[in-house]
Symmetry: C2
Subunit: 412 residues, 2 copies
């Protein structure tokens, strides 16, 4: 029988009524003839409660114990979902990560899935089981201890099961009804996309459009798993949600797929750095060691053997970045005049695989921002993305302006 993976996030299983509602959706797919693997998150709020306790006991916790604690919520939902399905006369059973087993690395609290042996579940499907309910977000390490996959990890569990079991599709049920051209809270013209390419979704996810965990999109792209993002609060329909799929499956699309933004950016500039071979490594090595997530990097033209080096990072890492740079200066590893931090900036990006074949997107973007008098502080580009740092107070205006400029309210 064809297989389907259905993943329900925390708000979709927040209480028994919602679990029943989710189970109804599973029933529809079972009746269509699918064998279904259901991946569940913890009931909303539960994991936060557990994380809170761990942090209160020990800010520098043993990640192995953290995982043993915070994985509990998914086990509860998995059992409750299996019971609910059984009440509907559907043959179902629950599986905890170690029972499958979902084999992961031993990077506790942030483990990666290494393998999902299919034997146990396939055996049960062969015996007539129609639904396997699997606790998301968790696995088991080579040492036989419980691991978790990082926040939002249930998305990754779902995609990994879809890949391992060669599922026709992986449906991710969440509290939004799909992927939008931009955040509807910022632009009321935001339009839901029917389809989006893996590469675009990856850029949007990593740029702060928090619909899917970034790693789950990477995995979907690698194994070509078709992922549908949809809401568990809407009427079931075959056209619901947004399909994240290979570029080839999208016949026509806008040049730009969406506008992403990130509010909490800071721009850091090292003024008058001695420019010598290896200077970038001398700067960004210590930043990386200090746990600073450097995003954009720009190096000015060198003059008289000195240059300015600008980079961006999340605002809550500014203090760490400053300390790392001062330490490096005191150790004599780098030499600069001063470090200027601008914490009132935001990042706005246009994303679209169409850029590869359409020139002029960057020019159109800069022109639109210029017309509104928005000054660009830093620019970076990739093959399918152009990002700019601007003053934070212009962020909403910039998103709306670009959404209009690329006519994202209209489908092609």
């Amino acid at each position: 029988m064809p297989r389907l993976v259905m993943k329900f996030g925390g708000t979709s299983v927040a209480n028994l009524d919602r679990i029943r509602n989710a189970a109804e959706r599973v029933r529809l797919e079972v009746e269509k003839g699918y064998d279904v693997i259901v991946i569940v998150s913890a009931m909303s709020g539960k994991t936060n409660e557990l994380v809170g306790w761990v942090n209160e006991i020990s800010p520098l916790y043993d990640a192995r114990e953290y995982d043993a604690v915070v994985s509990a919520g998914e086990n509860v939902t998995a059992g409750l979902m299996a019971l609910t399905l059984q009440e509907m006369n559907i043959s179902a059973r629950s599986w905890q990560g170690w029972q499958v087993p979902v084999q992961t690395t031993d990077a506790y609290a942030n483990a990666r899935i290494e393998e999902i042996p299919c034997k146990n579940l396939k055996e049960k499907f062969g015996e007539g089981m129609r639904v396997a309910v699997v606790a998301g977000f968790q696995g088991v390490s080579p040492q036989g201890r419980v691991t978790t996959l990082g926040r939002g990890g249930s998305d990754t569990t779902a995609v990994a099961f879809a890949a391992a079991f060669d599922a026709e599709r992986c449906d991710i049920y969440t509290d939004v009804d799909g992927v939008y051209t931009t955040d509807p809270r910022i632009s009321e013209k935001a339009r839901k996309l029917d389809k989006i390419a893996f590469e675009e979704m990856l850029e949007l996810a990593s740029l702060g459009a928090k619909v899917l965990q970034t790693r789950s999109v990477e995995l979907a792209m690698r194994f070509n798993v078709r992922v549908r993002v949809l809401s568990s609060f809407e009427e079931p329909s075959d056209e619901a949600g947004t399909l994240v799929c290979a570029e080839e499956e999208i016949m026509e699309s806008n040049v730009v797929a969406g506008i992403a933004y990130s509010r909490d950016e800071a721009k850091m500039t090292l003024i008058s750095v001695a420019d010598r071979p290896g200077i970038a490594a001398a700067i960004f090595g210590p930043l990386s060691k200090a746990g600073v997530n450097v995003d954009m990097i720009v190096q000015n033209i060198s003059e008289d053997g000195r240059t300015d080096m600008t980079f961006s990072c999340p605002t809550n890492q500014v203090l760490r970045a400053e300390k790392a740079m001062q330490d490096a200066k005191e150790n004599g590893n780098i030499n600069f005049h001063k470090l200027v931090a601008d914490e009132a900036v935001a990042k706005v990006s246009v994303v679209g695989i169409g850029m590869r074949s359409h020139a002029g997107v960057a020019a159109q973007m800069f022109e639109a921002l210029h017309t509104e008098g928005i000054n660009i502080k830093v620019i970076t580009t990739s093959e399918i993305k152009i990002s700019v740092l601007i003053e934070r107070k212009y962020m909403e205006l910039a998103v709306q302006t670009l959404h209009d400029a690329f006519e994202l309210n209209k489908a092609v």
Copy 2:
């Protein structure tokens, strides 16, 4: 190093402060030189919440899924306890049932422990671990699924670990400070016992003195595990609580150790049953199949080939008992005039191993009740226990009267 098992019940780990308090007690024992196995229950209220959800979804639930759900609370506490101990610089780690593994039967929701292999924990103790924190109440079936041991099962987990690891003692921390001669809420003269024999504790536990799960006492008796019941809310002391131990370890004791009671009893009488060989089996077979826990049984002297048969059971099973008897009558398996249920009775028992060598305890008991005008409806006796059914309204008076009559307020 000598080993100790310490078990903390739900109220002893109800929040992070109490977990810290419990961990402090563990630290004292570690500092005395013990390697400690800590068994934890779920934080109080958690298991009830989970059980409530399961019952709401499905009153006739799949016990395998019930176990998967209700075992979650202990895993949380085990991790939190390990983290708390680590914060005190004590080398500790948590173990879930399947990790040890605690091997049980597959009688889900009411499984029995079959074996506890010591290899994994001993290896860690050998490497310098001082405390193994084990999630109580749970195990793993031969099919690799999670099992639970029935309510109060963490006591049994604790005693089983003490037996398997040859622990010097098994300390059960709870919200009462020991075992009393009777319920202090009924008699203010109730006295805490320093020691009590396994056999006596077994009778008290099964008679409703809900300090320890009955099965844990059976296990302690079989493997001669010294069990200390004490409160986690009192100052630590070597004399705290009550030691449950072999008879030989108790030099002197009262003839009667305690007075137990059970409030929710019903007395059922089948009037004018045709008395023939096999009649008892014909009556009690169907009752057992209907899930009626028959306790006391009395058969009147037979007259003209007919007799009256009286038995007691919990009041909430009266309807089931009546249905089972009517069905048996309609099927022609038994024949009786009518069934009379008296739901206003209670059971009061005196328990003590001293009875074996002291005659006259029964006479003294009946005389004391008679003096207060309390009529006895049914009597049963065992080697170390005499139980009577009386009108429920006299229950408190009967307990107080018997406590006085046997001078239980005074130690020998």
